[in-house]
């Protein structure tokens, strides 16, 4: 009997211990929050979450410097997440431990805004901020309120191996789809013996592959990069037909790097750095990648993306307009904004461009910042074809997504017209439903001129 009571007591102790462990975090948190802002003796700790890796060393340095030098007793806890950034953020908001400052991107700010993760920053914005940082609807402001400010923008280019071009006797990068197919063939013929191929795409994630290739080709040709037509407010994928056919042709010709079906972007970059890929399409972050992440062993350069037929009727997407945002759940708004102000200081943004992490979208910074100290960045600097496209309405389409359908066509063939007809029907049905539910807005703009988007960042 005595033994039984002893066991019961032990069980109770274990239970109490585990319950205490569950609640321990809360107590610590409360204590932390209370001592946070008011007590001048203790540090106010704020957390900043980013998913960026291309600038991680620089960001670590500037955060360390801020922690060492700021007079407000603020300590920034920098958290660099990987590909699971969005999921980790979702989890953090569900478990009441969200960050105070969040890195927002072109592809996340709308979602984070709709989910209520972001707090407007209007109360902190002074006139000088408003004058310096351009407001961009749906990219940094929603319903008249500002949620973020631009830092750098990302341009999209054709990145090519100069040495392989020279070996194949190709003197200029392709400007049309027909030339793209042809050059890929020539590069493969010249490089195959040493294991080099003309073209590559990262099809492990078809959305990522087309989002950096067919998108920009469509955009410079005057069509929405995701199939949405801003003139009619309808989805129309028919403009993608020649682009997808050209990619398929490259693959059928044997000019595509073997194994692209399971290729991720980093392995693709590693192969390019080794000189095994002739050309691919991607973002301006690549310049930094070939300096630090995968130092390039070859001479390379970036050129404007080709258009469908050589004529430029649109604008090559200059992506960005946002960088940091305040969390809606932060209890240390003042401290978080102070850190944001530091990050948005002209000198820091200037360094950001000069070190080659991105091309400034802030006119006052562009004026003073020198050309980035990164090899190959020249080709990524804004040219007369670059421009900011409006944000298209993302819809929950039923069935196969456009990227998957196009990739399937590239691999196994089929009737591309029928595939496009099916995509148009399904995307427009989903759009109509989303508009009806008030989830998105889609209004026709008959005067929409894609060509007018270009030329605002360089003449």
């Amino acid at each position: 009997m005595k033994k039984r009571w002893l066991t019961m007591t032990l069980a109770a102790v274990v239970m109490a211990g585990s319950l205490a462990a569950c609640s321990g975090k809360k107590t610590e948190e409360n204590g932390g929050a209370e001592s946070g802002g008011s007590d001048s003796g203790e540090k106010t700790v704020i957390s900043y979450w980013t998913g960026d890796r291309h600038d991680s060393e620089f960001i670590k340095e500037v955060v360390d410097e801020y922690n060492a030098t700021n007079k407000d007793n603020i300590e920034v806890d920098l958290v660099i997440k990987g590909d699971d950034f969005d999921q980790a953020l979702d989890m953090s908001f569900q478990t009441s431990e969200p960050p105070d400052v969040i890195r927002v991107k072109e592809n996340t700010i709308q979602t984070f805004y709709k989910k209520g993760y972001l707090a407007p920053i209007d109360e902190f914005l002074k006139e000088e901020h408003k004058a310096a940082f351009p407001e961009m609807p749906d990219l940094n402001s929603f319903e008249g309120k500002r949620y973020s400010l631009p830092n750098y923008g990302t341009t999209m280019r054709l990145i090519y191996n100069k040495e392989l071009f020279a070996k194949a006797g190709v003197t200029a990068p392709p400007t049309t789809l027909a030339e793209l197919v042809d050059v890929a063939k020539k590069l493969t013929a010249a490089g195959k013996e040493s294991g080099a191929y003309g073209f590559a795409q990262n099809f492990k994630n078809p959305g990522s592959a087309f989002g950096r290739s067919s998108r920009v080709i469509a955009e410079v040709s005057g069509f929405g990069g995701f199939g949405y037509d801003f003139k009619t407010a309808q989805y129309d994928f028919s403009h993608f037909k020649p682009i997808i056919e050209a990619f398929k042709q490259i693959k059928d010709d044997g000019s595509m790097l073997p194994g692209v079906e399971s290729l991720d972007i980093d392995p693709l970059r590693a192969q390019f750095a080794e000189g095994k890929i002739g050309m691919y399409l991607s973002f301006s972050a690549e310049a930094g990648v070939y300096t630090s992440q995968f130092p390039a062993k070859i001479e390379w350069a970036a050129a404007p993306a080709p258009s469908i037929d050589g004529s430029f009727n649109g604008a090559s997407g200059f992506l960005g307009g946002q960088w940091l945002a305040l969390s809606s759940k932060t209890t240390k708004k003042e401290a978080a904004w102070k850190f944001m102000s530091y990050m948005y200081s002209e000198s820091l943004l200037q360094q950001y461009q000069e070190k080659g992490f991105g091309i400034s979208m802030v006119p006052s910074v562009s004026e003073v910042a020198a050309t980035p100290q990164v090899k190959g960045i020249e080709g990524f600097l804004p040219n007369p074809y670059d421009g900011v496209w409006p944000v298209y309405p993302v819809v929950a389409v039923q069935g196969t997504k456009s990227d998957d359908a196009f990739f399937k066509y590239m691999v196994s063939g089929g009737d591309l017209d029928a595939i496009i007809k099916d995509l148009n029907e399904r995307y427009n049905a989903a759009l109509a439903q989303a508009v009806k539910n008030g989830e998105v807005k889609a209004e026709p703009d008959p005067n929409f001129d894609p060509k007018a988007l270009a030329g605002k960042f360089a003449k």
Binding site: D86, Q87, T111, G225, G259, E261, S262, V394, T400, D404
Partner: protein, 300 residues
């Protein structure tokens, strides 16, 4: 009084795990089940749409393709891993020199993180500069690189990785079962002139029955639920060839942003309905198996 105390005593032991089961198991299931009848994108309005999500599943070819892929994946994994695990267990149950080391080596994959394992296998199978192709080409076993993670071979590759990961675990369970079979049965059968194959067929297999029934059941459930290594190696591709049920469900809840624009929408409502149907499929298969394998548990 004594009985009442006994009851309290027993329940006090059940309580901690019951709390965890409710909080981490039952509550999330109930939470998700509620959304089956809603159109909910993870934010904004939750619209009640009755059984529309289920009607959508019926016509969702991608989902049914993923169900078929799951059966191929699970079938392949079970067909290779279980007989192999049993064979290894029988061999290692004998007085073999160094068997402890071999057992430990075979069990090792079980304790390695699935994600780490999948990253390593990605490097091995990678068609362009993967170790496997380089090895096979060095010894002239293949003429040109094989796209192990391409359309034609991706399923085979992910099955092999799954077998590698599961083999040691099942082997260990079989070993535990084998060690419970009394030695005298084998000895007396030897006296009666039974050979090794006869011993295996008429003693080992029947006496392993109840254990084997449980191992096979666990293996079936694990194989139907597995998706982590696939996510790392192929992410369900290429063109959905390795997209299994739970990966499909995962992507509905956590769509990955591709390129630099959000091209997909989180579908909590539909995802919950798909998760429910998927759970029903796994449950139904398990029940059918259990019913069909009743003979195995009769140790006579």
């Amino acid at each position: 009084m004594n009985k009442a105390k006994n009851v309290v005593f027993s329940y006090s032991f059940l309580l901690p795990s019951s709390i965890l089961t409710v909080v981490l198991g039952i509550y999330p299931i109930v939470w998700a089940m509620r959304y089956m009848f809603f159109d909910y994108k993870g934010y904004g309005e939750e619209r009640f749409i009755g059984l529309d999500n289920f009607a959508r599943i019926w016509t969702d070819h991608e989902y049914w393709d993923s169900v078929l892929n799951t059966f191929i994946y699970a079938g392949g994994k079970l067909a290779l891993s279980l007989p192999l695990a049993l064979l290894l267990a029988v061999i290692l149950n004998r007085g073999l020199r160094g068997r402890g080391v071999i057992r430990a080596l075979l069990f090792m994959p079980t304790i390695i993180s699935t994600a780490v394992m999948a990253v390593v296998f990605f490097a091995i199978f990678n068609s362009y500069n993967g170790i496997l192709n380089q090895f096979l080409m060095k010894y002239n076993l293949i003429g040109s690189p094989v796209d192990w993670l391409g359309v034609d071979h991706a399923m085979l590759s992910v099955i092999l990785v799954a077998v590698w990961g599961a083999l040691g675990n099942y082997m260990l369970l079989f070993l535990a079962g084998l060690q419970n079979i009394p030695q005298d049965v084998y000895e007396s059968s030897s006296l009666d002139g039974a050979g090794r194959w006869q011993q295996f067929r008429y003693i080992t297999i029947p006496m392993l029955g109840p254990v084997m029934q449980m191992i096979v059941m666990l293996a079936i459930i694990n194989a139907l639920k597995g998706y982590e290594s696939i996510m790392v190696m192929t992410d369900g591709g290429p063109i959905g060839k390795t997209n299994v049920m739970f990966l499909y469900v995962f992507k509905l809840f956590f769509p990955t942003a591709s390129g630099s624009a959000a091209t997909q929408v989180q579908e909590m409502g539909y995802g919950s309905a798909v998760a429910f149907v998927t759970a029903l499929i796994v449950g139904a298969i398990t029940i059918v198996y259990f019913y069909g394998s009743r003979r195995m548990s009769r140790n006579d």
